[in-house]
């Protein structure tokens, strides 16, 4: 039983000497967290815009300046000829073009309706929708102000508007990073632990030291545990670094209970290490081990609710996502961090993780035993 500590020590000795691996385990995540945090918290702004002003009145210029001052739009092009806009959109130089029709200001004075065309690059539906939202908002404000002017003239014709008072709970500034960064930390933990454990055993097999170990009285479970513990420890260290970084750099407050989170993390580790172990027992070469792990990782990433909301997936996909342990961990991490959830709020996730962790791990161990024969 105590032989395990020799295996553990050996693993750490090896890792300590492998500068490249150390960098990958410790430095790369920090870099990624840095980049990720900023990307994900980016609001849609700097929208490259072209304006086609066919009215050329002080009114139209007033509208244009509103767009400029909103801070969302970068008006990079002024075009008189509407047909040229196609070229701008095709080349990707603009995301949106706003066409102010001729006689706009005249029509407004005469209470005639004018149509302002908004040409949107619809490839990214999300961004397009948001952009359109901004345009609508700016124009609506413009219209409201104009209506106020008419109030003095024609009180009967005053629109009655419902104003929504929006209050955001738990994350009032709608900081994406609060929401994303803990999830990123989990994702990084997943990558590192599953990759390390997947490659770890295949590696020894490939260089021949596995055989040497098998000739010794070392029991198989001792080998297994001895290999897994260092990976688990490394995973935890990485998690701690990531979370500390989140706190220090992004000032993400940890509202909930750290101990509770640590507990969940341990259970989650069983799943990722189990996955790596399973791959290790199945693959014959390091390349296969990597490819297989990669496949699982991408699946886990995309179906975890981390970036793409699960609620919006078609039902069959949602059912499949229930098989993804990372899904539960992402929920746990967010609920604990941002909402300060207590155990009774998230015990379902805990149960799921235990079931998954236990199953995957046992399965992996069985496959490992079988393979060792």
């Amino acid at each position: 039983m105590f032989k395990i500590k020799y295996i553990i020590r050996k693993e750490f000795q090896q890792v300590r000497r492998d500068r490249a691996m150390l960098a990958i385990i410790f430095v790369l995540p920090i870099i990624q967290l840095l980049i990720l945090g900023y990307i994900i918290s980016s609001e849609v702004t700097n929208i490259s815009t072209a304006i086609c002003d066919m009215d050329n009145s002080s009114l139209s210029r007033g509208i244009i300046s509103r767009f400029e001052q909103s801070g969302y739009f970068n008006i990079n092009y002024y075009e008189q000829n509407r047909d040229n806009l196609r070229d701008y959109l095709n080349s990707g130089r603009i995301s949106v073009a706003i066409v102010l029709p001729p006689h706009l200001s005249e029509n407004l004075t005469n209470r005639q309706v004018s149509n302002i065309q908004v040409l949107l690059d619809g490839q990214d539906a999300n961004t397009a929708t948001i952009t359109l939202g901004y345009v609508n908002m700016i124009l609506r404000q413009f219209v409201e102000e104009k209506q106020q002017q008419y109030l003095s003239i024609d009180p009967a014709n005053v629109p009655h508007v419902i104003q929504p008072e929006t209050r955001v709970w738990y994350n009032p500034d709608l900081e994406y990073s609060d929401y994303m960064v803990p999830g990123i930390a989990v994702f990084l933990l997943t990558i590192v632990t599953s990759l390390l454990s997947a490659m770890g055993l295949v590696r020894e097999r490939e260089i021949g030291t596995l055989e040497q170990l098998l000739v010794t009285p070392l029991k198989k479970y001792e080998l297994l545990v001895g290999k897994i513990i260092p990976f688990a420890i490394l995973g935890f260290v990485e998690l701690a670094i990531a979370l500390a970084f989140a706190r220090v750099w992004y000032h993400i407050p940890m509202v909930g209970n750290l101990l509770l989170f640590a507990l969940f993390a341990v259970v989650y580790l069983f799943t990722t290490l189990g996955l790596g172990l399973f791959v290790s027992a199945t693959a014959h070469t390091q390349q296969q081990a990597l490819l297989l792990t990669w496949f699982f990782l991408v699946f886990m990433f995309l179906m975890s609710g981390f970036v793409f909301p699960i609620e919006n997936m078609p039902k069959p996909a949602q059912y499949i996502s229930y098989l993804n342990p990372m899904r539960y961990m992402i929920i746990v991490v967010r609920e604990i961090f941002i909402k300060g959830a207590k155990i009774y709020h998230i015990y379902w996730q805990g149960v799921a993780l235990v079931i998954f962790g236990g199953t995957i791990f046992s399965f992996a161990v069985l496959k490992f035993q079988q393979r060792m024969k």
């Binding site: 032989k3 500590k5 020799y6 295996i7 020590r9 050996k10 000795q13 090896q14 000497r17 492998d18 260089i207 021949g208 030291t209 055989e211 040497q212 170990l213 098998l214 000739v215 010794t216 009285p217 070392l218 029991k219 024969k373």
Partner: protein, 242 residues
């Protein structure tokens, strides 16, 4: 060398599909004997050793190492044997000391035993000066010494060597065999496979393998007399040609 049996096989066979890598071989090795297994590549030597070490289950037949059954008592076997393969199987990114400490620990040595045996190993094998060097930096002959040292840390009763001198310079080979002699004198059984003819002369007894079967067995002297040849090499070629 006494007449206690250390390793025994009886009609030991190993098949891979329809291919018989080892075909009903039977032999006995005595305590303190240096027993050689000579044969061309692919003759079945490595498969035999792997079965005796508990790395591979036989397809049929029986075998015992130090009285332990290779089917059911592999744990006990492993506690009593040392193994060294042609690959040396050392951790290149660990130092000489670290490799020794690791394998010692894995063999169940207590920390005190580990310390003593480690120092003994370093001095016995002339590795004191390089104890802190990374294994990958050692020349091949030194790696061989380290591999042998690691396989002996727990004072095993039987030592299995699978083509242990491949690619090593003649002086290192000589020193290696010197060590083997010392071990055998002290009572360790040495079971060695090789395809170097001159090494065969160092063995107490030799068995010649071909196509999975033992075609002849005896002391080098007996074999040369039996087939009326001057060297073992001639004996070997003669038998293979048949």
């Amino acid at each position: 060398m006494n007449s206690e049996i250390s390793v025994k096989t009886s009609d030991l066979t190993r098949q891979f599909g329809r291919f018989k890598a080892v075909d009903r071989i039977s032999f006995e090795v005595y305590d303190g004997e240096i027993f050689g297994f000579l044969g061309a590549n692919g003759a079945g030597k490595t498969t035999t050793i792997r079965m005796l070490c508990g790395l591979l289950l036989p397809s049929s037949g029986k075998a015992w190492v130090e009285g332990f059954d290779v089917y059911k008592e592999t744990d006990s076997i492993k506690q009593n044997i040392g193994y060294m393969s042609q690959k040396f199987s050392l951790y290149e990114d660990l130092t000489v000391s670290e490799n020794i400490e690791f394998f010692g620990g894995v063999y169940g040595l207590t920390p005190r035993e580990l310390k003593t045996n480690r120092e003994k190993a370093l001095s016995d094998f002339g590795l004191e000066k390089v104890s802190t060097k990374l294994t990958r930096e050692l020349p091949l002959g030194w790696k061989q010494r380290l591999a042998l040292a690691c396989s002996l840390l727990h004072n095993p009763k039987v030592l299995f060597l699978d083509e242990p001198t491949g690619g090593v310079d003649p002086i290192s080979r000589r020193e290696f065999w010197q060590k083997i002699y010392e071990l055998a004198e002290a009572g360790t059984t040495v079971f060695v496979t090789t395809h170097y003819m001159d090494e065969v002369e160092y063995c107490n007894r030799v068995s010649i393998m071909h196509n999975g079967q033992i075609v002849s067995m005896g002391t080098p002297g007996e074999l040369k007399a039996r087939y009326e040849k001057e060297t073992i090499e001639d004996v070997f070629i003669h038998l293979i040609d048949k």
